[in-house]
């Protein structure tokens, strides 16, 4: 179920979620005081699960800020333990994937939950994750997918293949690989759509931050790009925004050695001012201007009209179709644009078969979605 838009707390569940987003930060709101009825806590835990904030609830309960009855604590403990059991399986998979990729010389940057848990959270126990996200250089992308799906490699399964051969390495955002019960997301860029095409991807591999899991060193983005990626993920990752992304951005800003002004300049250079501006607005909406602190600067940025237009492609339920169309406006070169257009209009039979579609149903589906937007 898609998470609801964050709003000013009007009931106890909303107040609990708002407290979870800002937990541990200077100026954070007080946690609502109990006693709570069991139904309120059950709804709060389920909402926190949608927003991937169960770790924040557990952290607050662990430190005595979120006071619950024994039964309520047991409910939260079970959800938290289940989520962390999944995370441990993901970390184990990360070790296996890294061993295969390292041996082949495929460079990676770990993104999102697994990296953030180890670099900006006080204790990785308080950050949950659903997938294993790795950024791979475009030049290595096809090889990485091949190794992830090869029987002599990681033996994964790619249920939905690329639109046409070579599409993902040139234009794609990611390839989704099933590794047993886990999902490995091989990313080429931060986001789908136009703002994913204007990122200078080589810059992301020029430097890194390292962290260790079970004795193996992994690389994630440098602090500068971690903060910028947190903006992209907050603004464009899920629609409506998932509150965990808001918490990640707040923590990245407070805990990483990254200069916000420099981040804004990189966003300007990438044509992504609209992205960081939206991230700033979402932060202020979610936690208010006091806790947002310096991140308010993002919300106050002037955004070029063209970027505002591109952003609209993301803010619609039909975004799986509107984003590719908007991408045509930013892909450089006529030939590349034609290759892109051909791929999205006439995907390969292999792709259509993997989705259970025909060319006709693919086009009809796209037109229907865009018409009803």
């Amino acid at each position: 179920m898609a998470p609801n838009d964050p709003a000013i707390p009007t009931d106890t569940v909303d107040a609990i979620l708002t407290a979870a987003v800002a937990h541990g930060l200077d100026g954070a709101p007080e946690w609502p005081s109990g006693p709570f009825d069991d139904d309120t806590i059950r709804r709060a835990v389920l909402r926190a699960r949608e927003h991937r904030l169960v770790g924040a609830l557990a952290e607050a309960a662990f430190h005595g800020a979120f006071l619950l009855s024994d039964e309520q604590l047991a409910l939260l403990a079970d959800y938290h333990a289940g989520a962390q059991s999944h995370v441990l399986e993901l970390e184990r998979a990360l070790g296996k994937v890294a061993a295969v990729f390292d041996a082949a010389g495929v460079e990676t940057r770990v993104l999102k939950g697994l990296a953030l848990a180890r670099t900006i959270y006080d204790d990785p126990s308080w950050r949950v994750a659903s997938d294993l996200d790795l950024l791979v250089p475009s030049a290595s992308f096809d090889m990485a997918v091949a190794m992830a799906t090869a029987s002599h490699g990681l033996d994964g399964t790619q249920n939905v293949v690329e639109l046409r051969p070579g599409f993902d390495a040139e234009f794609g955002k990611e390839a989704l690989i099933r590794l047993g019960d886990l999902e490995l997301d091989l990313h080429r860029t931060f986001v789908a759509g136009p703002f994913g095409h204007t990122i200078d991807l080589d810059e992301l591999f020029a430097d890194s931050t390292t962290f260790t899991v079970a004795g193996r060193t992994h690389h994630t983005l440098s602090p500068h790009f971690q903060l910028l990626h947190a903006c992209y993920n907050t603004a464009l990752g899920d629609y409506p925004v998932r509150l965990c992304a808001v918490r990640d951005l707040l923590l990245c800003h407070r805990r990483l050695d990254a200069d916000l002004g420099a981040v804004i300049e990189t966003a300007r250079r990438w044509g992504g001012l609209a992205v960081v501006q939206r991230a700033g607005e979402l932060i202020v909406d979610a936690v208010g201007p006091t806790i947002a602190g310096e991140l308010r600067r993002l919300a106050e940025l002037d955004v070029p009209r063209r970027e505002r237009w591109l952003l609209r492609a993301y803010l619609t339920p039909a975004r799986s179709y509107s984003r590719p169309l908007a991408s045509l406006a930013v892909i450089p070169g006529v030939r590349a644009r034609l290759r892109y257009l051909r791929a999205i209009a006439v995907p390969s039979r292999h792709y259509l078969r993997s989705r259970g579609w025909t060319t006709r149903t693919h086009l009809r589906r796209a037109i229907d979605r865009l018409r009803h937007d």
């Binding site: 333990a81 059991s85 184990r92």
Partner: protein
């Protein structure tokens, strides 16, 4: 997740002077009322509920098994022999799974 169970027949027997600590290869997370471990030889995560999770805290640094027993006996005001009997199967299971290692015998 599973609760601790008796050691497998292959489990290594722990002796009083064995110095133990966590294995660097073991993944773990703090829980509300316990810890969750995933060692290289475990099929699935193992949940250590209170008070067994204190054992994991103590094993952050190398410590002789006899000292572990003494600390826990004093903390819970229970005879050392009782603690030793309760602790031995769990420690041997953790050793067998590779969650902890003997650093010195």
């Amino acid at each position: 997740m599973t609760e601790p169970s008796p050691p497998t027949p292959e489990a290594e027997a722990v002796r009083g002077h064995d110095v133990l600590r966590r294995s660097a290869d073991t993944l773990w997370r703090r829980l509300l009322g316990g810890v969750l471990l995933l060692a290289p030889d475990m099929d699935e995560p193992l949940r250590l509920s209170q008070p067994a999770d204190v054992l994991w805290e103590l094993l952050a640094e190398a410590i002789p098994f006899d000292a572990l027993v003494a600390v826990l006996a004093e903390a819970h005001d229970v005879p050392a022999d009782v603690v030793r009997n309760d602790l031995t199967p769990l420690v041997e299971r953790l050793l067998a799974a590779g969650a902890i290692v003997v650093v010195r015998q």
